[in-house]
Symmetry: C2
């Protein structure tokens, strides 16, 4: 039996991305964004949706760049804090003790303590109601050396990203490995269930 | 120490959404999409990125509608299968035994056995390299009655969605609850760590 719950902003999973930018006079800012995802492969691109009143909106418009920083589980308080306060009123970096680093590829800062940092250059914008979708081309990804797997790729089990649950307004961790993609579905063909 | 891994389509978490559409003569189709996310609140909107050669691309262009269906963990084989084969060559529904249902709000079919179904009407498209980002306004969400929480919202712990890991090409489950959003970060202000 299906229950209709109407038109709501709910989908699972939703990410916890901290967006790094520079404000006026080069002041680093960071904002927690959940309306986001990869939106193209060639060039590799990430879309993030931000309202006009946020500092990050103006910063991206001015600098044409941003970083996506993935907090590990242990930084759940810091990740949430970035959503509780405005960069207009406080210095989120001195409050949290986290370190903004100048990206070497784009005009934005990334967060040193977070294990995954994607440096993005703005290539498109799209207005969707109150939100502007900023599409950034991924120019480089930096990963903590101890979070790299044997194929030199970021290891989700070491990075330990968070999920945002927009229904319960909570965070979840990532669970166990469930199966190999482009592979486990072959059992449907072979009727090997 | 940070390691630079270059420009790659990797971010965590990435979703496992099965997109439901109608093809020619009303043939239901379904496709596994990972480049996707919420991209607006008002109206509530989901963006999904699809290449032009896919059946789903043509179906959305023709019908201006799609559904987002979230498979539970137990449907990992079926979810992966939707990515292994083309709707041009086979009937994915008869192969998997899953049931396409005509949405009552939009011109697309949803998957009965998957516990979460969002009915979306196309409102925007944006070309990003080889992919077209289809932005759908969420018109209604249907949820299995036994996956609703006490606030009449979908319960992530009952829905048990999957994540796609674009680095290891694997699926993960959702892990445990890690904290309350817009709340746990207050401990930074009170220095209660």
């Amino acid at each position: 039996m299906k229950t209709s719950i109407g038109a709501k902003n709910i989908i699972f999973p939703t990410p916890v991305f901290i967006v790094g930018t520079y404000g006026e006079e080069g002041k680093p800012n960071a904002m927690n964004v959940a309306w986001a995802g990869i939106c193209g492969s060639s060039p590799p691109s990430i879309g993030i949706a931000i309202r006009e009143q946020r500092c990050t909106y103006k910063n991206i418009m001015n600098r044409k760049a941003f970083t996506i920083n993935i907090p590990s589980e242990i930084y759940i308080k810091e990740a949430d804090y970035f959503d509780l306060v405005s960069g207009n009123k406080t210095d989120k970096f001195s409050d949290t003790g986290l370190t903004p680093i100048q990206s070497d590829k784009v005009d934005a800062s990334y967060i040193e303590e977070f294990p995954f940092n994607a440096e993005c250059e703005l290539i498109e914008t799209l207005q969707i109601g109150e939100h502007t979708l900023f599409v950034g081309q991924i120019i480089d990804i930096k990963v903590d050396a101890d979070c790299i797997d044997k194929n030199d790729l970021p290891d989700i089990e070491k990075i330990k990203p968070l999920l945002f649950d927009p229904a319960a307004i909570r965070y979840n961790t990532v669970g166990k490995i469930a199966g190999k993609a482009f592979s486990i579905g072959k059992r449907i063909l072979s009727h090997d269930n």
